[in-house]
């Protein structure tokens, strides 16, 4: 199947014009019917591969970004990103790697109680969201990261988190309580992920 170069131009224009990443459904909607979106995207990706601006896939959506090696050049255009406290940063990492995670699970990994402000900061930044409730006593709320989180950290998927696969393989990402300090009477935590109820 040959690719209509007009379709490539249109996709280019749309992706360039928008600051937000666009997903394939949005592109399909705006391009003429029958446009081969995946082929168009890979064509653009290839065309821009060596340019100062590349096509990138973030959170399953497509956007143009400046080339990673030119970061040093763009000092002036850089947005000031908020500096997170260590507590907030660790909490964010724990939620990202363990999601869905409950407050208690975050606290267990960090070994300290979670202050209200820490979660607030992450909510404010738009990086975490409530995902549902655990079907365990007390039905605690579980948290996960947002699409904005993925976009901000330049990730296409949660599996692209640095070291994700290795950590998972090493069993470091289970949310099973170790139960060593408080002799937790919790037992059936194994199937937790599947048992989560969607509520939000």
């Amino acid at each position: 199947m040959s690719l209509d170069p007009e379709h490539v131009r249109m996709a280019e224009a749309l992706l360039f014009a928008s600051k937000e990443p666009l997903d394939e459904a949005v592109l399909a909607e705006r391009l003429p019917e029958g446009a081969d979106i995946p082929a168009i995207l890979s064509t653009i990706e290839e065309q821009y591969r060596h340019k100062g601006v590349n096509l990138a896939r973030l959170a399953g959506k497509w956007t143009f970004l400046t080339a990673p090696d030119l970061s040093w050049l763009l000092e002036e255009e850089r947005e000031t990103t908020r500096r997170l406290s260590r507590a907030a940063l660790e909490t964010l990492a724990i939620i990202a790697y363990h999601q869905p995670a409950t407050r208690a699970e975050i606290e267990e990994i960090r070994g300290v109680g979670l202050s209200r402000g820490t979660m607030d900061v992450l909510f404010d930044a738009g990086w975490i969201r409530p995902r549902g409730r655990r079907r365990t006593p007390g039905r605690p709320v579980t948290y996960g990261v947002t699409e904005d989180f993925l976009i901000h950290f330049g990730l296409d998927d949660i599996k692209d988190l640095p070291g994700f696969d290795e950590m998972k393989a090493a069993g470091l990402l289970s949310t099973e309580p170790t139960g060593i300090f408080n002799d937790l009477a919790q037992t059936e935590e194994d199937a937790l992920e599947d048992e989560e109820e969607k509520e939000f």
């Binding site: 014009a17 970004l65 850089r78 260590r86 660790e90 960090r110 470091l172 139960g179």
Partner: protein
């Protein structure tokens, strides 16, 4: 630990001198809980956390807490709970297990090591995340986005039933419609009285009480007085025009009216 990723509060513990020097600077505020202290102490052994000597770690921690208390620093409860638990673990590790109640000292030690490993993994992950490619910092999005211009056509939906209900509900909410409106209804105008008197005069041939000409069904006293006044004014007007005769037997007595016969 890379200082760059953390704020000032978080950096404090990087200044803590490890225990080896026996000059442990006790600054409990710099730690994020007992597990954090344990992790800092564990790093001192410079081995994979899973191969760490938990016994040595427990001793280091207990020494740390003792030192903090000797310096009369306030030690939070969870630090003390940890100390108690580690003392217990130490005894389990040193003494041969006598009965099979619960996990062995080795098992507990493994679990603690694993917990430390987990915390360390998350610390490193957080750091890598911040040191990785951050959009808006390392890779930039379009600086001047040409937003999609949306021309919105609004279409409103409303049914006749909704419209009528809104009107009725509005009326109901206001209670008695318009009190001033009521006043107007209550007033019987002179014109109306004239009209009525002209039409009715003659149906009663003899002297009749003027009040008999009042409209029926006026119960409201205000309306009644209004009708009386208007009818009297109308009768005076008609008397002046020579259409009827009026008489009153006594002061405040009933006013009687009779059609004037032509030629009289």
């Amino acid at each position: 630990m890379d200082k760059g990723s953390f704020d000032d509060a978080g950096q404090k513990n990087t200044e803590v001198i490890p225990l080896t020097s026996q000059a442990l600077l006790v600054d409990l505020d710099g730690y994020e809980g007992p597990l954090d202290v344990l992790l800092v102490l564990a790093r001192d052994q410079k081995v994979d956390l899973l191969k760490i000597s938990i016994l040595q770690l427990a001793e280091q921690y207990l020494a740390f807490i003792e030192q903090a208390r000797a310096l009369r620093l306030e030690v939070a409860a969870d630090y003390l709970v940890m100390a108690a638990w580690l003392a217990y673990l130490k005894s389990r590790l040193l003494l041969p297990a006598e009965e099979d109640d619960g996990p062995s000292g080795e098992e507990l030690a493994d679990r603690l090591a694993f917990l430390l490993k987990k915390l360390e993994a998350m610390r490193e992950a957080a750091e890598k995340l911040m040191n990785g490619t951050v959009v808006g910092r390392d890779r930039l999005q379009r600086g001047r986005p040409e937003a999609i211009r949306i021309t919105r056509h609004s279409k409103y939906e409303c049914t006749l039933r909704e419209l009528l209900q809104a009107y009725a509900a509005q009326k109901e909410r206001k209670g008695i419609i318009n009190p001033l409106r009521l006043m107007r209804d209550a007033v019987f105008s002179v014109e109306a009285a004239l009209d009525r008197l002209e039409k009715m005069l003659g149906t009663l041939p003899e002297w009749t009480d003027l009040m008999a000409y009042l409209p029926e069904n006026i119960s409201d006293p205000f309306s009644r007085r209004s009708a009386q006044a208007s009818t009297l004014l109308a009768s005076l007007q008609m008397a002046k025009e020579g259409q009827l005769e009026l008489r009153q037997g006594a002061t405040f007595g009933p006013i009687q009216v009779k059609k004037r016969k032509s030629g009289q």
